[in-house]
Protein backbone atom coordinates (compact mmCIF):
# COMPACT_ATOMS: atom_id res chain seq x y z
CA UNK A 1 0.00 0.00 0.00
CA UNK A 2 2.72 2.47 1.06
CA UNK A 3 4.78 1.28 -1.88
CA UNK A 4 1.94 1.97 -4.34
CA UNK A 5 0.71 5.27 -2.88
CA UNK A 6 3.93 6.95 -1.80
CA UNK A 7 7.06 5.22 -3.07
CA UNK A 8 6.04 4.47 -6.67
CA UNK A 9 5.09 8.10 -7.52
CA UNK A 10 8.22 9.24 -5.69
CA UNK A 11 10.44 6.94 -7.77
CA UNK A 12 8.59 7.89 -10.97
CA UNK A 13 9.01 11.61 -10.28
CA UNK A 14 12.72 11.37 -9.55
CA UNK A 15 13.24 8.92 -12.41
CA UNK A 16 11.61 11.41 -14.77
CA UNK A 17 13.47 14.41 -13.36
CA UNK A 18 16.76 12.50 -13.51
CA UNK A 19 16.14 11.39 -17.09
CA UNK A 20 15.30 14.92 -18.24
CA UNK A 21 18.33 16.37 -16.44
CA UNK A 22 20.67 13.79 -17.95
CA UNK A 23 19.33 14.43 -21.43
CA UNK A 24 19.67 18.19 -20.93
CA UNK A 25 23.24 17.76 -19.66
CA UNK A 26 24.13 15.58 -22.64
CA UNK A 27 22.57 18.01 -25.13
CA UNK A 28 24.32 21.00 -23.57
CA UNK A 29 27.64 19.15 -23.62
CA UNK A 30 27.30 18.61 -27.38
CA UNK A 31 26.30 22.27 -27.79
CA UNK A 32 29.20 23.62 -25.74
CA UNK A 33 31.73 21.40 -27.54
CA UNK A 34 30.25 22.59 -30.85
CA UNK A 35 29.31 19.09 -31.98
CA UNK A 36 26.36 20.48 -33.88
CA UNK A 37 25.34 21.00 -37.48
CA UNK A 38 24.42 24.70 -37.90
CA UNK A 39 22.28 23.81 -40.93
CA UNK A 40 20.17 21.45 -38.82
CA UNK A 41 19.77 24.11 -36.10
CA UNK A 42 18.58 26.60 -38.73
CA UNK A 43 16.22 24.04 -40.24
CA UNK A 44 14.70 23.37 -36.83
CA UNK A 45 14.53 27.09 -36.01
CA UNK A 46 12.63 27.66 -39.24
CA UNK A 47 10.30 24.72 -38.74
CA UNK A 48 9.64 25.34 -35.05
CA UNK A 49 9.91 29.11 -34.88
CA UNK A 50 8.89 30.66 -38.16
CA UNK A 51 5.93 28.36 -38.56
CA UNK A 52 4.74 29.19 -35.02
CA UNK A 53 4.81 32.90 -35.82
CA UNK A 54 1.23 33.33 -37.12
CA UNK A 55 -0.27 31.68 -34.03
CA UNK A 56 1.87 33.80 -31.71
CA UNK A 57 0.83 36.95 -33.61
CA UNK A 58 -2.86 36.14 -33.28
CA UNK A 59 -2.60 35.21 -29.60
CA UNK A 60 -0.66 38.31 -28.61
CA UNK A 61 -2.87 40.54 -30.77
CA UNK A 62 -6.03 39.54 -28.95
CA UNK A 63 -4.39 39.42 -25.53
CA UNK A 64 -2.93 42.92 -25.85
CA UNK A 65 -6.26 44.15 -27.17
CA UNK A 66 -8.31 42.67 -24.34
CA UNK A 67 -6.02 43.97 -21.58
CA UNK A 68 -6.18 47.41 -23.12
CA UNK A 69 -9.95 47.16 -23.54
CA UNK A 70 -10.48 46.38 -19.86
CA UNK A 71 -7.87 48.86 -18.63
CA UNK A 72 -9.02 51.67 -20.92
CA UNK A 73 -12.63 51.39 -19.76
CA UNK A 74 -11.63 51.60 -16.12
CA UNK A 75 -9.13 54.36 -16.89
CA UNK A 76 -11.75 56.55 -18.53
CA UNK A 77 -14.19 55.99 -15.66
CA UNK A 78 -11.59 56.78 -13.01
CA UNK A 79 -9.55 59.37 -14.84
CA UNK A 80 -6.14 57.68 -15.14
CA UNK A 81 -5.85 57.30 -18.92
CA UNK A 82 -2.13 58.12 -18.77
CA UNK A 83 -1.52 54.71 -17.15
CA UNK A 84 -3.12 52.50 -19.80
CA UNK A 85 0.03 52.16 -21.94
CA UNK A 86 2.26 51.40 -18.99
CA UNK A 87 -0.07 48.77 -17.57
CA UNK A 88 -0.32 46.97 -20.90
CA UNK A 89 3.44 47.15 -21.55
CA UNK A 90 4.41 46.25 -17.99
CA UNK A 91 2.29 43.10 -18.03
CA UNK A 92 3.30 42.18 -21.56
CA UNK A 93 7.09 42.58 -21.16
CA UNK A 94 7.31 40.84 -17.82
CA UNK A 95 4.68 38.13 -17.96
CA UNK A 96 2.23 37.82 -20.82
CA UNK A 97 4.69 38.14 -23.70
CA UNK A 98 7.06 35.34 -22.67
CA UNK A 99 4.44 33.21 -20.94
CA UNK A 100 1.82 33.20 -23.69
CA UNK A 101 4.48 32.72 -26.33
CA UNK A 102 5.83 29.71 -24.44
CA UNK A 103 2.39 28.19 -23.93
CA UNK A 104 1.46 28.59 -27.60
CA UNK A 105 4.93 27.37 -28.60
CA UNK A 106 4.50 24.28 -26.39
CA UNK A 107 1.20 23.54 -28.10
CA UNK A 108 2.57 24.00 -31.60
CA UNK A 109 6.30 23.22 -31.57
CA UNK A 110 6.43 21.00 -28.46
CA UNK A 111 3.72 18.78 -29.87
CA UNK A 112 5.50 18.65 -33.24
CA UNK A 113 8.83 17.68 -31.63
CA UNK A 114 7.28 14.98 -29.44
CA UNK A 115 5.24 13.56 -32.31
CA UNK A 116 8.12 13.44 -34.76
CA UNK A 117 10.62 11.95 -32.28
CA UNK A 118 7.95 9.59 -30.96
CA UNK A 119 7.29 8.35 -34.48
CA UNK A 120 11.04 7.88 -34.96
CA UNK A 121 11.23 5.96 -31.69
CA UNK A 122 8.45 3.49 -32.50
CA UNK A 123 9.84 2.88 -35.99
CA UNK A 124 13.31 2.10 -34.52
CA UNK A 125 14.93 5.12 -36.18
CA UNK A 126 16.34 6.33 -32.87
CA UNK A 127 17.83 2.88 -32.25
CA UNK A 128 19.22 3.04 -35.78
CA UNK A 129 21.23 6.14 -34.84
CA UNK A 130 22.52 4.39 -31.72
CA UNK A 131 23.30 1.17 -33.58
CA UNK A 132 25.58 3.01 -36.00
CA UNK A 133 27.48 4.69 -33.17
CA UNK A 134 25.76 8.06 -33.38
CA UNK A 135 24.30 9.67 -30.29
CA UNK A 136 20.62 10.44 -30.95
CA UNK A 137 20.85 13.22 -28.37
CA UNK A 138 23.56 14.86 -30.45
CA UNK A 139 21.72 14.73 -33.75
CA UNK A 140 18.10 15.04 -32.62
CA UNK A 141 17.95 16.83 -29.27
CA UNK A 142 20.77 19.38 -29.38
CA UNK A 143 19.67 21.15 -32.61
CA UNK A 144 16.07 21.37 -31.35
CA UNK A 145 17.19 22.64 -27.96
CA UNK A 146 19.37 25.38 -29.43
CA UNK A 147 16.69 26.31 -31.97
CA UNK A 148 14.07 26.66 -29.24
CA UNK A 149 16.36 28.64 -26.89
CA UNK A 150 16.89 31.27 -29.61
CA UNK A 151 13.49 31.12 -31.27
CA UNK A 152 11.18 31.64 -28.28
CA UNK A 153 12.81 34.98 -27.28
CA UNK A 154 12.54 36.18 -30.90
CA UNK A 155 8.88 35.19 -30.97
CA UNK A 156 8.47 36.96 -27.64
CA UNK A 157 9.80 40.20 -29.15
CA UNK A 158 7.11 39.91 -31.83
CA UNK A 159 4.50 39.12 -29.20
CA UNK A 160 5.55 42.17 -27.15
CA UNK A 161 5.40 44.52 -30.14
CA UNK A 162 2.08 43.20 -31.39
CA UNK A 163 0.50 43.03 -27.94
CA UNK A 164 1.43 46.63 -27.10
CA UNK A 165 0.43 47.88 -30.56
CA UNK A 166 -2.93 46.10 -30.35
CA UNK A 167 -3.31 47.64 -26.92
CA UNK A 168 -2.80 51.10 -28.41
CA UNK A 169 -5.41 50.62 -31.15
CA UNK A 170 -7.93 49.34 -28.62
CA UNK A 171 -7.20 52.19 -26.16
CA UNK A 172 -7.53 54.72 -28.96
CA UNK A 173 -10.72 53.17 -30.31
CA UNK A 174 -12.52 52.54 -26.99
CA UNK A 175 -11.30 55.42 -24.88
CA UNK A 176 -9.90 57.87 -27.43
CA UNK A 177 -6.47 57.82 -25.77
CA UNK A 178 -3.99 59.71 -28.03
CA UNK A 179 -0.94 57.97 -29.47
CA UNK A 180 1.51 60.21 -27.57
CA UNK A 181 -0.21 59.61 -24.22
CA UNK A 182 -0.25 55.84 -24.72
CA UNK A 183 3.35 55.41 -25.86
CA UNK A 184 4.67 58.00 -23.42
CA UNK A 185 3.00 55.93 -20.71
CA UNK A 186 4.68 52.79 -22.08
CA UNK A 187 8.07 54.50 -21.94
CA UNK A 188 7.56 56.02 -18.50
CA UNK A 189 6.03 52.95 -16.87
CA UNK A 190 8.57 50.32 -17.95
CA UNK A 191 12.28 49.77 -17.70
CA UNK A 192 14.54 48.13 -20.33
CA UNK A 193 15.26 45.42 -17.77
CA UNK A 194 11.58 44.42 -17.89
CA UNK A 195 12.01 43.69 -21.57
CA UNK A 196 15.39 41.93 -21.29
CA UNK A 197 14.39 39.84 -18.30
CA UNK A 198 11.26 38.82 -20.19
CA UNK A 199 13.52 37.54 -22.94
CA UNK A 200 15.64 35.60 -20.44
CA UNK A 201 12.45 33.96 -19.22
CA UNK A 202 11.50 33.18 -22.82
CA UNK A 203 14.84 31.47 -23.45
CA UNK A 204 14.37 29.28 -20.36
CA UNK A 205 10.82 28.43 -21.47
CA UNK A 206 12.16 27.50 -24.91
CA UNK A 207 14.63 25.11 -23.29
CA UNK A 208 11.86 23.60 -21.14
CA UNK A 209 9.57 23.00 -24.11
CA UNK A 210 12.39 21.50 -26.19
CA UNK A 211 13.81 19.15 -23.58
CA UNK A 212 10.45 17.91 -22.30
CA UNK A 213 9.17 17.31 -25.83
CA UNK A 214 12.37 15.47 -26.81
CA UNK A 215 12.33 13.38 -23.63
CA UNK A 216 8.69 12.41 -24.11
CA UNK A 217 9.34 11.60 -27.78
CA UNK A 218 12.26 9.36 -26.82
CA UNK A 219 10.06 7.56 -24.28
CA UNK A 220 7.24 6.82 -26.73
CA UNK A 221 6.42 3.18 -27.24
CA UNK A 222 3.66 1.02 -28.59
CA UNK A 223 2.85 2.50 -32.00
CA UNK A 224 0.51 5.36 -32.88
CA UNK A 225 -1.19 5.28 -29.50
CA UNK A 226 2.15 5.71 -27.76
CA UNK A 227 3.08 8.62 -30.01
CA UNK A 228 -0.24 10.31 -29.18
CA UNK A 229 0.35 9.78 -25.47
CA UNK A 230 3.88 11.17 -25.71
CA UNK A 231 2.61 14.25 -27.54
CA UNK A 232 -0.08 14.96 -24.95
CA UNK A 233 2.34 14.40 -22.07
CA UNK A 234 4.89 16.70 -23.69
CA UNK A 235 2.48 19.60 -24.03
CA UNK A 236 0.90 19.19 -20.59
CA UNK A 237 4.22 18.77 -18.78
CA UNK A 238 5.90 21.62 -20.66
CA UNK A 239 3.02 24.00 -19.92
CA UNK A 240 2.94 23.12 -16.21
CA UNK A 241 6.73 23.47 -15.92
CA UNK A 242 6.59 26.77 -17.81
CA UNK A 243 4.14 28.21 -15.28
CA UNK A 244 6.17 26.85 -12.35
CA UNK A 245 9.42 28.25 -13.71
CA UNK A 246 7.69 31.53 -14.55
CA UNK A 247 6.91 32.02 -10.89
CA UNK A 248 10.48 31.20 -9.86
CA UNK A 249 12.04 33.37 -12.54
CA UNK A 250 9.75 36.33 -11.79
CA UNK A 251 10.72 36.01 -8.16
CA UNK A 252 14.42 36.04 -8.99
CA UNK A 253 14.54 38.49 -11.91
CA UNK A 254 12.01 41.12 -10.84
CA UNK A 255 12.62 41.35 -7.09
Amino acid sequence: MIQRVILDPFYRFFGYAGGVTMMLGDALRYAVTLQIRPSEVLRQAYFLGVESWPIIVLTSLFTGAVISLETAKAAVQNGFTEYVGSSVAYGTFRELGPLLTAVVFAGRAGAAIAASLGAMKVTEQIEAFQSMGVSPVKVLVTPRLIACIFTVPLLTVFADIIGISAGYYMAHWVAGIPQYTYFHSVQRGTDPSDFYNGLIKAAVFGAIVAIIACYEGFRAEGGADGVGRATTNAVVTAVILTFAFNFGLSYVLFR
Binding site: T123, E124, A128, Q130, M132, G133
Partner: protein, 268 residues
Protein backbone atom coordinates in the same frame (compact mmCIF):
# COMPACT_ATOMS: atom_id res chain seq x y z
CA UNK B 1 50.46 -24.35 -10.43
CA UNK B 2 52.42 -21.49 -8.84
CA UNK B 3 50.76 -19.17 -6.32
CA UNK B 4 50.64 -16.35 -8.87
CA UNK B 5 49.05 -18.52 -11.54
CA UNK B 6 46.58 -19.86 -9.01
CA UNK B 7 45.57 -16.30 -8.02
CA UNK B 8 45.22 -15.32 -11.69
CA UNK B 9 43.10 -18.38 -12.28
CA UNK B 10 40.86 -17.59 -9.35
CA UNK B 11 40.30 -13.88 -10.06
CA UNK B 12 40.47 -13.62 -13.82
CA UNK B 13 36.79 -14.53 -14.36
CA UNK B 14 35.65 -16.66 -17.28
CA UNK B 15 38.29 -17.36 -19.94
CA UNK B 16 38.43 -14.93 -22.86
CA UNK B 17 37.08 -16.23 -26.17
CA UNK B 18 39.58 -17.63 -28.63
CA UNK B 19 40.70 -15.40 -31.49
CA UNK B 20 38.36 -17.05 -33.97
CA UNK B 21 35.33 -16.10 -31.86
CA UNK B 22 34.19 -12.58 -32.78
CA UNK B 23 31.08 -12.54 -30.59
CA UNK B 24 30.42 -14.48 -27.42
CA UNK B 25 27.37 -14.33 -25.19
CA UNK B 26 28.24 -16.01 -21.91
CA UNK B 27 25.26 -16.94 -19.70
CA UNK B 28 23.43 -13.73 -20.50
CA UNK B 29 20.19 -12.99 -18.67
CA UNK B 30 17.83 -10.10 -19.37
CA UNK B 31 14.37 -9.10 -18.17
CA UNK B 32 11.87 -6.51 -19.48
CA UNK B 33 9.97 -5.38 -16.42
CA UNK B 34 9.14 -8.75 -14.89
CA UNK B 35 9.26 -10.80 -18.11
CA UNK B 36 12.33 -12.98 -18.54
CA UNK B 37 13.53 -12.57 -22.13
CA UNK B 38 16.98 -14.17 -21.98
CA UNK B 39 18.09 -16.62 -19.36
CA UNK B 40 21.49 -18.31 -19.15
CA UNK B 41 21.89 -17.63 -22.87
CA UNK B 42 25.28 -18.59 -24.34
CA UNK B 43 26.34 -18.55 -27.97
CA UNK B 44 29.59 -18.13 -29.91
CA UNK B 45 29.75 -16.51 -33.36
CA UNK B 46 32.85 -17.40 -35.33
CA UNK B 47 34.81 -14.70 -37.09
CA UNK B 48 33.99 -14.34 -40.78
CA UNK B 49 31.07 -16.76 -40.58
CA UNK B 50 27.30 -16.43 -40.58
CA UNK B 51 25.52 -17.52 -37.43
CA UNK B 52 21.79 -18.01 -37.78
CA UNK B 53 19.57 -17.75 -34.74
CA UNK B 54 16.17 -19.38 -35.00
CA UNK B 55 13.31 -19.58 -32.58
CA UNK B 56 9.64 -18.92 -32.05
CA UNK B 57 8.18 -15.45 -32.36
CA UNK B 58 8.85 -13.54 -29.15
CA UNK B 59 11.59 -15.96 -28.08
CA UNK B 60 14.11 -13.13 -27.68
CA UNK B 61 15.96 -13.43 -31.00
CA UNK B 62 15.94 -9.71 -31.77
CA UNK B 63 16.93 -9.00 -28.18
CA UNK B 64 20.12 -11.02 -28.72
CA UNK B 65 21.09 -8.67 -31.55
CA UNK B 66 20.37 -5.65 -29.35
CA UNK B 67 22.50 -7.10 -26.57
CA UNK B 68 25.37 -7.67 -29.02
CA UNK B 69 25.03 -4.07 -30.26
CA UNK B 70 24.83 -2.71 -26.72
CA UNK B 71 21.32 -1.33 -27.26
CA UNK B 72 20.17 -3.50 -24.35
CA UNK B 73 22.24 -4.19 -21.28
CA UNK B 74 22.36 -7.71 -19.91
CA UNK B 75 21.22 -8.08 -16.30
CA UNK B 76 23.71 -10.91 -15.81
CA UNK B 77 26.39 -12.74 -17.77
CA UNK B 78 28.95 -11.31 -20.16
CA UNK B 79 29.04 -10.17 -23.79
CA UNK B 80 32.38 -10.31 -25.59
CA UNK B 81 33.02 -8.48 -28.85
CA UNK B 82 36.42 -9.20 -30.37
CA UNK B 83 37.58 -10.53 -27.01
CA UNK B 84 36.50 -7.46 -25.04
CA UNK B 85 33.84 -7.77 -22.40
CA UNK B 86 31.41 -4.93 -23.19
CA UNK B 87 29.16 -5.64 -20.22
CA UNK B 88 28.90 -2.49 -18.14
CA UNK B 89 30.36 -0.22 -20.79
CA UNK B 90 28.88 3.26 -20.79
CA UNK B 91 27.17 4.83 -23.81
CA UNK B 92 30.30 6.65 -24.99
CA UNK B 93 32.38 3.45 -24.97
CA UNK B 94 29.58 1.62 -26.77
CA UNK B 95 29.40 4.33 -29.45
CA UNK B 96 33.02 3.56 -30.37
CA UNK B 97 32.36 -0.18 -30.43
CA UNK B 98 29.26 0.23 -32.62
CA UNK B 99 31.27 1.97 -35.33
CA UNK B 100 32.56 -1.43 -36.44
CA UNK B 101 29.06 -2.92 -36.58
CA UNK B 102 26.25 -2.69 -39.07
CA UNK B 103 22.68 -3.31 -37.97
CA UNK B 104 19.96 -4.11 -40.53
CA UNK B 105 16.66 -3.66 -38.71
CA UNK B 106 13.54 -5.76 -39.22
CA UNK B 107 11.53 -2.82 -40.52
CA UNK B 108 14.61 -1.15 -42.05
CA UNK B 109 14.44 1.88 -39.71
CA UNK B 110 15.42 4.21 -42.53
CA UNK B 111 15.36 7.90 -41.63
CA UNK B 112 12.16 8.95 -43.32
CA UNK B 113 13.10 12.61 -43.77
CA UNK B 114 16.21 11.66 -45.78
CA UNK B 115 16.55 10.22 -49.28
CA UNK B 116 17.92 6.71 -49.73
CA UNK B 117 21.32 8.11 -50.72
CA UNK B 118 21.39 10.37 -47.63
CA UNK B 119 20.43 7.43 -45.43
CA UNK B 120 23.25 5.32 -46.81
CA UNK B 121 25.74 8.18 -46.63
CA UNK B 122 24.91 8.96 -43.01
CA UNK B 123 27.43 6.62 -41.29
CA UNK B 124 30.16 7.89 -43.60
CA UNK B 125 29.41 11.54 -42.77
CA UNK B 126 29.50 10.72 -39.08
CA UNK B 127 32.50 8.44 -38.84
CA UNK B 128 34.88 9.11 -41.67
CA UNK B 129 36.86 12.02 -43.02
CA UNK B 130 35.92 11.21 -46.61
CA UNK B 131 35.20 14.10 -48.95
CA UNK B 132 31.72 14.60 -50.37
CA UNK B 133 32.87 13.22 -53.73
CA UNK B 134 34.29 10.10 -52.07
CA UNK B 135 31.13 9.59 -50.06
CA UNK B 136 28.94 10.04 -53.14
CA UNK B 137 31.05 7.50 -55.02
CA UNK B 138 30.93 4.97 -52.16
CA UNK B 139 27.16 5.41 -51.78
CA UNK B 140 26.61 4.95 -55.53
CA UNK B 141 28.74 1.79 -55.55
CA UNK B 142 26.89 0.34 -52.56
CA UNK B 143 23.46 1.15 -53.97
CA UNK B 144 24.45 -0.30 -57.34
CA UNK B 145 25.66 -3.50 -55.70
CA UNK B 146 22.26 -3.87 -54.07
CA UNK B 147 20.30 -2.95 -57.21
CA UNK B 148 19.09 0.38 -55.86
CA UNK B 149 20.76 2.85 -58.23
CA UNK B 150 17.41 4.05 -59.59
CA UNK B 151 15.99 5.04 -56.23
CA UNK B 152 18.84 6.91 -54.61
CA UNK B 153 16.88 10.16 -54.60
CA UNK B 154 13.62 8.59 -53.40
CA UNK B 155 12.32 8.84 -49.88
CA UNK B 156 11.97 5.56 -47.94
CA UNK B 157 8.17 5.82 -47.94
CA UNK B 158 8.18 5.68 -51.75
CA UNK B 159 9.84 2.23 -51.86
CA UNK B 160 8.45 -1.29 -51.57
CA UNK B 161 9.18 -3.39 -48.46
CA UNK B 162 11.90 -5.38 -50.23
CA UNK B 163 13.63 -2.27 -51.51
CA UNK B 164 13.49 -0.71 -48.05
CA UNK B 165 15.14 -3.85 -46.65
CA UNK B 166 17.92 -3.61 -49.20
CA UNK B 167 18.34 0.10 -48.51
CA UNK B 168 18.65 -0.80 -44.82
CA UNK B 169 21.34 -3.34 -45.74
CA UNK B 170 23.13 -0.71 -47.81
CA UNK B 171 23.25 1.64 -44.83
CA UNK B 172 24.44 -1.19 -42.58
CA UNK B 173 27.33 -2.21 -44.83
CA UNK B 174 28.44 1.06 -46.41
CA UNK B 175 31.36 1.54 -44.03
CA UNK B 176 32.58 -2.06 -44.37
CA UNK B 177 31.72 -3.21 -40.83
CA UNK B 178 33.47 -6.17 -39.23
CA UNK B 179 30.20 -7.39 -37.73
CA UNK B 180 26.76 -7.26 -39.39
CA UNK B 181 23.52 -7.97 -37.55
CA UNK B 182 20.45 -8.87 -39.62
CA UNK B 183 17.12 -8.76 -37.80
CA UNK B 184 14.46 -10.84 -39.61
CA UNK B 185 15.77 -9.92 -43.07
CA UNK B 186 13.07 -11.82 -44.96
CA UNK B 187 10.01 -11.29 -42.79
CA UNK B 188 6.93 -10.06 -44.60
CA UNK B 189 8.40 -10.60 -48.07
CA UNK B 190 7.13 -12.74 -50.95
CA UNK B 191 9.23 -15.79 -52.00
CA UNK B 192 10.87 -14.00 -54.93
CA UNK B 193 11.88 -11.01 -52.82
CA UNK B 194 13.02 -13.42 -50.08
CA UNK B 195 15.29 -15.12 -52.61
CA UNK B 196 16.67 -11.74 -53.72
CA UNK B 197 17.35 -10.75 -50.10
CA UNK B 198 19.10 -14.07 -49.35
CA UNK B 199 21.24 -13.68 -52.47
CA UNK B 200 22.01 -10.11 -51.45
CA UNK B 201 23.15 -11.15 -47.97
CA UNK B 202 25.32 -13.91 -49.47
CA UNK B 203 27.00 -11.46 -51.81
CA UNK B 204 27.55 -8.99 -48.97
CA UNK B 205 29.10 -11.78 -46.93
CA UNK B 206 31.33 -12.85 -49.80
CA UNK B 207 32.50 -9.30 -50.38
CA UNK B 208 33.07 -8.20 -46.78
CA UNK B 209 33.95 -11.51 -45.09
CA UNK B 210 32.27 -10.07 -42.02
CA UNK B 211 31.00 -11.87 -38.96
CA UNK B 212 27.26 -11.93 -39.46
CA UNK B 213 24.41 -12.83 -37.18
CA UNK B 214 21.07 -13.47 -38.86
CA UNK B 215 17.97 -13.74 -36.74
CA UNK B 216 14.94 -15.29 -38.41
CA UNK B 217 12.21 -17.87 -38.15
CA UNK B 218 12.37 -18.40 -41.90
CA UNK B 219 14.16 -21.75 -41.98
CA UNK B 220 14.87 -21.85 -45.72
CA UNK B 221 16.70 -18.52 -45.53
CA UNK B 222 18.61 -19.60 -42.45
CA UNK B 223 19.67 -22.89 -44.10
CA UNK B 224 20.79 -21.03 -47.20
CA UNK B 225 22.79 -18.41 -45.31
CA UNK B 226 24.23 -19.88 -42.15
CA UNK B 227 27.47 -21.66 -41.36
CA UNK B 228 26.23 -22.28 -37.83
CA UNK B 229 22.70 -22.30 -36.48
CA UNK B 230 21.57 -21.83 -32.88
CA UNK B 231 18.05 -22.39 -31.64
CA UNK B 232 16.66 -20.09 -28.96
CA UNK B 233 13.84 -21.37 -26.80
CA UNK B 234 12.42 -19.60 -23.76
CA UNK B 235 15.43 -17.30 -23.59
CA UNK B 236 18.07 -20.03 -23.75
CA UNK B 237 20.08 -21.48 -26.62
CA UNK B 238 19.05 -25.11 -26.51
CA UNK B 239 20.94 -26.39 -29.55
CA UNK B 240 23.66 -25.17 -31.88
CA UNK B 241 25.72 -26.60 -34.70
CA UNK B 242 25.98 -26.71 -38.45
CA UNK B 243 22.83 -26.74 -40.54
CA UNK B 244 23.02 -30.54 -40.87
CA UNK B 245 23.65 -31.03 -37.16
CA UNK B 246 20.61 -28.92 -36.33
CA UNK B 247 18.47 -30.77 -38.84
CA UNK B 248 19.51 -34.09 -37.28
CA UNK B 249 19.17 -32.87 -33.71
CA UNK B 250 17.51 -35.40 -31.40
CA UNK B 251 16.08 -32.53 -29.31
CA UNK B 252 12.25 -32.83 -29.59
CA UNK B 253 11.80 -29.06 -29.28
CA UNK B 254 14.14 -28.45 -32.23
CA UNK B 255 12.44 -31.14 -34.28
CA UNK B 256 8.96 -29.79 -33.55
CA UNK B 257 10.09 -26.29 -34.56
CA UNK B 258 11.81 -27.47 -37.75
CA UNK B 259 8.81 -29.55 -38.77
CA UNK B 260 6.35 -26.81 -37.89
CA UNK B 261 4.24 -29.30 -35.99
CA UNK B 262 1.74 -28.40 -33.34
CA UNK B 263 2.37 -31.73 -31.61
CA UNK B 264 5.33 -31.79 -29.27
CA UNK B 265 6.82 -30.27 -26.15
CA UNK B 266 6.54 -26.62 -27.25
CA UNK B 267 3.64 -25.05 -25.34
CA UNK B 268 1.26 -23.30 -27.75
Amino acid sequence: MSGLNLAQGLFAGPPLPADDIAIRLDRVALKYDEKIVLSDCSVDCKRGQVTGIIGLSGAGKSTILRVINGLRHADAGAVYIDGENITGWNEHELIEMRKKMGFAFQYSALFDSMTIAENVAYPLWEHTRMTKAEIDRRVSETLEALGLSDVENSLPGELSGGMQKRAGFARAIVNDPEIILFDEPTSGLDPIMTHIIVTTIKSIQERLKATSVVVSHDLRSIYALSDTVAMLFEGTIIESGTVNEIRRSPNPIVQQFLQGSELGPIPL
